[in-house]
Symmetry: none
Subunit: 216 residues, 4 copies
Amino acid sequence: MAKREDGKVTRNRLLKAACEVFAERGYLNAKVAEICRRAGANVAAVNYYFGDKDTLYAEAWQYAFNEYAMPESLVPEHTSPEDQLRNYIHSLIQNFMEKGLQGYFTRLYLMELANPTGLIQNSWHDMIKPRRQKLIGIIQKTLGIETTDETVLFCELSIISQCRALLTINRNDLEYLLCQPLSRNLIKRLADHIACFSLAGIRAVSKLRSEKEEIL
Amino acid sequence: MAKREDGKVTRNRLLKAACEVFAERGYLNAKVAEICRRAGANVAAVNYYFGDKDTLYAEAWQYAFNEYAMPESLVPEHTSPEDQLRNYIHSLIQNFMEKGLQGYFTRLYLMELANPTGLIQNSWHDMIKPRRQKLIGIIQKTLGIETTDETVLFCELSIISQCRALLTINRNDLEYLLCQPLSRNLIKRLADHIACFSLAGIRAVSKLRSEKEEIL
Amino acid sequence: MAKREDGKVTRNRLLKAACEVFAERGYLNAKVAEICRRAGANVAAVNYYFGDKDTLYAEAWQYAFNEYAMPESLVPEHTSPEDQLRNYIHSLIQNFMEKGLQGYFTRLYLMELANPTGLIQNSWHDMIKPRRQKLIGIIQKTLGIETTDETVLFCELSIISQCRALLTINRNDLEYLLCQPLSRNLIKRLADHIACFSLAGIRAVSKLRSEKEEIL
Amino acid sequence: MAKREDGKVTRNRLLKAACEVFAERGYLNAKVAEICRRAGANVAAVNYYFGDKDTLYAEAWQYAFNEYAMPESLVPEHTSPEDQLRNYIHSLIQNFMEKGLQGYFTRLYLMELANPTGLIQNSWHDMIKPRRQKLIGIIQKTLGIETTDETVLFCELSIISQCRALLTINRNDLEYLLCQPLSRNLIKRLADHIACFSLAGIRAVSKLRSEKEEIL
DNA sequence: AATGAATGAGCCTTCATTCAT
DNA sequence: GATGAATGAAGGCTCATTCAT
């Protein structure tokens, strides 16, 4: 019985190590040998437990999502939509920028976006869905509508894009662009900026939308 | 059988093939052998003309930038800042979305962002600089200031991020997010959205900035 | 078909084959593939066990030194310095000339001298040290001194040079120079000659040295 | 007519460059590309003028011998055999140790000894012969005999070996062995040592020889 | 006569995977 | 159930050589 336990333990250590290495290096640069080494397991362990590298990758994705992904209840309910948006953006950006276990999922996500391996297409949308709902809800409240039309989706895209860009860019380039070193405070100011910028944006396109509708 | 071409001819064929393959597969997945094959040259051709894969990569970047990148004079002068911003965003996005096979530069750019090879750091900033100047100028005019303080750079980042995101995402995912197929018209509407959204954003943070200054 | 040997077995076969090939062909001409072939192993075996060709080379050196080098106790104690010197030279030369295929170490040594790879500099002096001590001791006794001044080192160099030269020269050239085929007896006479020649040499420079000292 | 001249000029520049590079790096490490570069000629020049690398090597040997080898009349006649031997050794060692054009031949010679390419076996002995005669003559005079028996050849070997060893060893190792940095003065003292050491050696084996003959 | 473009054979190394134990 | 030994396919690079001009 102890042995069966050991099996699961090793398997989990492999998954954790896989998240680390895939997140740090991307799929191609990640070496199964290193994953095994970090997991304290044999070189053959990956093939033994998962069959091959591809399968390990897909399972690591799931694992990362379950273990590290942004907590569901990251946005306090019962506050104004404006505050909710600000909160959402802040928590998203902090999640991006801070090193640590919670960053794995976002990194994997990013890596996959830029270099699609085609190995996780099945689970991709399902994993993303709950997060989207939250943001879309906030946008709808801000706009004062309940439908999910093009305008809402465009706003979602604008907000997500601004947040995601901070991770897409490597630290050096970001510091070069902003002409100052990254600090906790800078990140906070950036989040404030994005919230303010986006809130105004939402409202502006809201007007545009109303005008269009009136015409129709 | 056309041997002994001008030398430059083969070299250019290699560069073109390199752009294709690097853009399609990324640096690691790109095989020197395939580049040579596509260029109709011998496996040793890359070494002969460029020394090694790294150098070829850097030169392909330059080549892609020169051949395919957005034309310098993309924004008509003598219009209102609002129109200039709209124009800038439209041309940027169209460049991203419509070039089809010829969007090599943007693809290379993206790949490098996600998986920095560190091989083009020297030329990187130089290639980007003129484009930035243009956008920063527009933002300054919109804000009615001439300095390049944090607020300006934040706005630049917000705008660029929204545009770039459209390429970060692969076509299928984008269509999934927006719940409709990509069309010329959709792209136009998206550009309009980003312009409107951002213009309002700039103005909003402008106010914030003025308020801050008054306090100081 | 004897797969899954102890691991050490294959490793040792590789080391032995490496000694052979490096000794026969020198570092550059030695091909990893041939070493593996001779060891009955896969091309990747060298990488598996040693990481790369350089490390294999360094380890082969150690192996050759341990396996084939001249036995420590080559000189009987408690005899006159003259006899000891004669013994030392005889055993050194015999070691050089007679070991046939097993003279790996001396061959490697020579190859390295002529084409320094810089890969064994660390172990080099350590491996040589004990042998030197023995000879230096004999020379000191012959000179009747205990210090290790320049004169002693010059004598060491003279003696070692004469012995080593017999290996520096290939067999054909040596036979050409001496106008007779190499035989056990010729080697013996050569060793006698070097011993006699050197003994007289040591004594001569000894006198020179005493005279110098008197002047000072 | 000027063109035919150019051909010979280039050919000679190639030979000179080949001597340099072969002497510096040995046959295997020498790259034809570098030889051509140093000669200011095309990559294909070696093959054009000499057919292949091997032939160039052989011709470079001849060239080095003719151009750089020790001058015939290096030993003043009409002095005592002792002085002649001292002179011979001094000039030989200086020839070895000093960098410069004259060192090429000796270096090529050495390289070939340690890593026989088998490409110059034909000319080898012929090129060496005149130098040997000079030394053998001196030894014979010192021994007071005219025959070239084994004893004479052994002495020749002993002397040459000591001199050659100074080049066989790389500078660092030599300084390590002698516990002091190489200086012009040290080289002079070494040459003195070898002369003194060898003179005594010759005389000692001379006695041995006489005794042997008496027995016979 | 001489050159620069182009080639191909071969080498070292990497790495996911397999297999006997 | 799990491991360490062993493999093979493939990649980047070197370099002497060839060939059309």
